[in-house]
Symmetry: C2
Subunit: 457 residues, 2 copies
Amino acid sequence: MLKPDVKMELVAIVGSDRYVDQPEVLTCYSYDSFAEEAMPEAVIFPLTTEEVAEVMRIASREKIPVTARGAGTSVCGGPVPVQHGIVLCFSKMNKILSINTRDRHAVVQPGVVNLDLQKALAPHGFFFPPDPGSMNFSTIGGNVSHNAGGPRCLKYGVTVDYVLGMQVVLASGKVVRFGSKNIKDVTGYNFSALYCGSEGTLGLVTEIILRVVPRPETMQTLLVTFDSLDNTARAVSDIIGSGILPAAMELMDKMTINAIEDAVGIGLPREAEGTLLIEVDGTTEACSRERQQIVAKVQEHGAVTIEEACTEEDRNRLWTARRAAYGVFAKISPNIVSEDVTVPVSRVPEMIRKIVEITDRYGLKAGVLAHAGDGNMHPLVCTDRENHEEWQRVEKAFAEIFQAAADMEGTLSGEHGIGLAKAEYLPLVMDQDTRDFMALIKHAVDPDNILNPGKFV
Amino acid sequence: MLKPDVKMELVAIVGSDRYVDQPEVLTCYSYDSFAEEAMPEAVIFPLTTEEVAEVMRIASREKIPVTARGAGTSVCGGPVPVQHGIVLCFSKMNKILSINTRDRHAVVQPGVVNLDLQKALAPHGFFFPPDPGSMNFSTIGGNVSHNAGGPRCLKYGVTVDYVLGMQVVLASGKVVRFGSKNIKDVTGYNFSALYCGSEGTLGLVTEIILRVVPRPETMQTLLVTFDSLDNTARAVSDIIGSGILPAAMELMDKMTINAIEDAVGIGLPREAEGTLLIEVDGTTEACSRERQQIVAKVQEHGAVTIEEACTEEDRNRLWTARRAAYGVFAKISPNIVSEDVTVPVSRVPEMIRKIVEITDRYGLKAGVLAHAGDGNMHPLVCTDRENHEEWQRVEKAFAEIFQAAADMEGTLSGEHGIGLAKAEYLPLVMDQDTRDFMALIKHAVDPDNILNPGKFV
């Protein structure tokens, strides 16, 4: 609980209905989709940038930690308030302020749900490419602060590639604006890009100017199965290496396919050792040609079946199945740990072999799900955190997986972020001087360390 | 001249052949393609990151200003050493360290010339999209530090969109590494993007990991003329607004076309009030369709002639003409000032009218050249800086042009940078708190202000 006089000041800013400190409600804001928990002392739901600025002026004066939160779908512990203090929940700042398809931008508040933006853009024939697994729930503010990816980021790039500008409230309560509505803008430092992926440690993003793009004319989707996971991975590496760029190329192993099929029963190929869900988009002619090239490549690598989603319904069915993967795993074990290592795509076959070898060796129930085309892999481990002995094996296995990724010039996270989850592993891919430089910038921007303290920096 | 003992230490690092302080040579490093001049006290040509680090350790101890330089093609005064000291010229650090098309990256030293990288990538069927007007001479280090654009950035994005990672020597001489060879990487702060466009004020980039992409199968190029500049601009805004995305869409006014034609005489349409050079790329089928859509749109806007470049030779001829524009203007007057304002593309017609109105009102000889599809305009003014009265009119005209861009939610620079040229105009598009924030970061990174001091921050 915050001090009574501080609480009174904060309530004066947002009103008592948007200041919450009943323990049973605070609990709901103590965790995200990662497993650790920490109780905030208050949750505040701002409606305007000015309210955020006023809250920060008090937090700064009182040195109260402030952790931003969207929908809480982060899988790295990003919004977990490990040093307590205030959670600033942006769920009520959820207005789409403008959509301008002539100039290809949209201006949104951070609490806008990704799917709601997609729905608003669709009638204009436009879309916002980042499509994290959580897109039906996660907010644009969360997408920005974690620099979210998703399947179609293979072709389209990640969130930072679509952020033109933003308004940010600094730790001091000062309000700054980065970037503009211009597609090209080199006026001053590129702070918008720095803030993408900074996980709320450098400021609070209260308005975002996004670049939006026309929907492709056609999307064509293929489901390809293989009789070995290795062939599956080689096909991926060969397709990308040969210069083809599908919109998405998702790899699922046998366990993942079966877990999905158990849950949703839509006729996925249970026998296949490896499955690729591949989507191409663009003009109809270009799609057809690209699809043919892909079919030829997967056949070279011993594809067993190649199914084409002929209707929009078929396509949605396949993508719904893919998107269901996390939920499905969550149902079959008390905890599910989804990792996010990334390697250069030519190393995908080697990395997948390594993941299987490591999780087998530690006797873990694990699946492999990957945005394989960009080398971004999500090994999934089913576990129970209460089982101390097993949890130790999980931790050891992941430490080895991270080391393997680092050894292949890979990285710890392609899209989930570092947060709490992987802070301790940073030295595997980042030397001391570079980590010191991160700390230097953090200290310059937030000298009292009140912005999401206790995380990766 | 630097102090003899300091000179001796620096010579010990790079050898006397790569330490230059003869006045007649220093003069060559006192200016760029912008007009101001300032003499360095020494020019050093490093070969390795370690040499750069050693130089910086001495510069830091002695508080000597250090200004990075590539080919000196900057048009904003970026590499002009306004506070003298050392110019670190990267022209000898010009090795392409690796090209890996399977993983779609290349690792280069900063002194690699853009064109040389393109030549090295071409046999692999790949290219590096940023193509600034200076690409035949300018270096990747310069492209990165100014976040360079170019015609095809309309479709492909600017330099920052192709920088995966970099090695940087900080003011202190410490060496840090940002990013990785992975297409997706959210491990730690996105410093690579911050350093793109930072104009050498935050550190010295000594190695760059670039994303490279497969060359499109086909490129088709159209030259379209109009009988009014306004129709030309409206066609641009309508094509982009309707969801078509050409690879490039360059606008030239009558004066520009005639200046080019005077110089190179390749049969450009001298009578046209406005000309568009439009390129589409992709699969042959997609190109053909997009070209048809564009032809329909330009006809709606009263296109007078539509010429297609049928051969690669024709295409090269048109692009050579377009790229010649700066040089051509430079020949017809003692000085040529090329500006770089950008506005959202729907405002292009309005902005062009404004540019014409302002330059006419001040009695200036001016042309309009624009990467029109992304709203990035280069008004060109022919002048003579020695003519004090005229120069005052030039300055007044540009001040009004900048204000007009700001009023249209535009920005001061789309690709040239701020440097010396536009530092004083920053307040038009950036408030005090945001400028203070830039200064705060600069001070944290470079507390003695030795990295390219006296520029925009």
